[in-house]
Amino acid sequence: MSRGTIVLEDEVGTFDGAKVGMLIFLGAETMLFAGFVTAYLVFRLRAPVWPPPLQPRLPVGVTAVSTAVLLLSGYTMWRALRAARDGDDGGLGRSLARTGLLGATFLAAQGYEWTRLLTFGLTAPSGIYGGTFYTLIGAHALHVLAALAWLSILLLATRRGPMVPVFGMYWYFVVGLWPVLYTLVYLA
């Protein structure tokens, strides 16, 4: 067992406590986003017209490209996990750096899209359309930002191996959640 890994042990066996902690955290995160998504659905289904009149339309095409970028970061994360398992430190560093770069690109595209939407008058207090959009998409963007901060710490750490699988779980959650939100908010 590598150093820095918390291990829970009983008479049956051992398992990684950090992974269990992350799993419980992701369970709570799932509930948070389920709450946001159901609130969005209720508001949307109650509205006679959606998007409401005189509100800007969301940029479906640009976001489709950033969705592809984020999905690609899921692949580079998978490569990083494989490199960590094989003990390939160089490959791990490269794959993590690519994952971070793709995540930052996604976030930059989201930020650019937001500034454009703000100039078109779509703000959080402008109505239920803006409020639900910024809550749902903003909560996801905050999660990507947190993941990037964690990734930066991992990249700077000399012994990153034990925490990479736990970070991978979080990154897969952030990547896996986005297509659901994109379909719901931008396409449906």
């Binding site: 009983d10 049956v12 066996g13 051992t14 398992f15 990684d16 992974k19 269990v20 799993l23 419980i24 369970g27 799932t30 509930m31 389920a34 709450g35 159901t38 609130a39 659905l41 209720v42 949307r44 289904l45 109650r46």
Partner: protein, 79 residues
């Protein structure tokens, strides 16, 4: 504290007048009808069932990890 009789009366009242039980800030102003009923129904169902699903998944993962470890230990220990 609410007595048993009072609680039973309250529940019976809600059963007889279900619209009054819509105490949520969003639902209370809703007269019903259209797609929103579908939204309320499935949202309530999803949010009710999801914690059980999450707990079952976490429990399943821990159980699987322990079993895998026990199998690996069984293979390495001399019989």
């Amino acid at each position: 504290m609410l007595g048993r009789r009072a609680a039973a009366l309250l529940i019976a009242g809600w059963a007889l007048l279900p619209l009054e039980a819509r105490a949520c800030a969003i639902c209370i102003g809703w007269a019903g009808g259209g797609d929103a009923d579908w939204g309320y129904y499935w949202s309530a169902l999803l949010l009710t069932l999801l914690p059980f699903v999450v707990v079952a998944l976490v429990g399943g993962w821990i159980r699987r990890a322990l079993r895998r470890e026990a199998r690996a230990r069984g293979r390495t220990e001399p019989s």
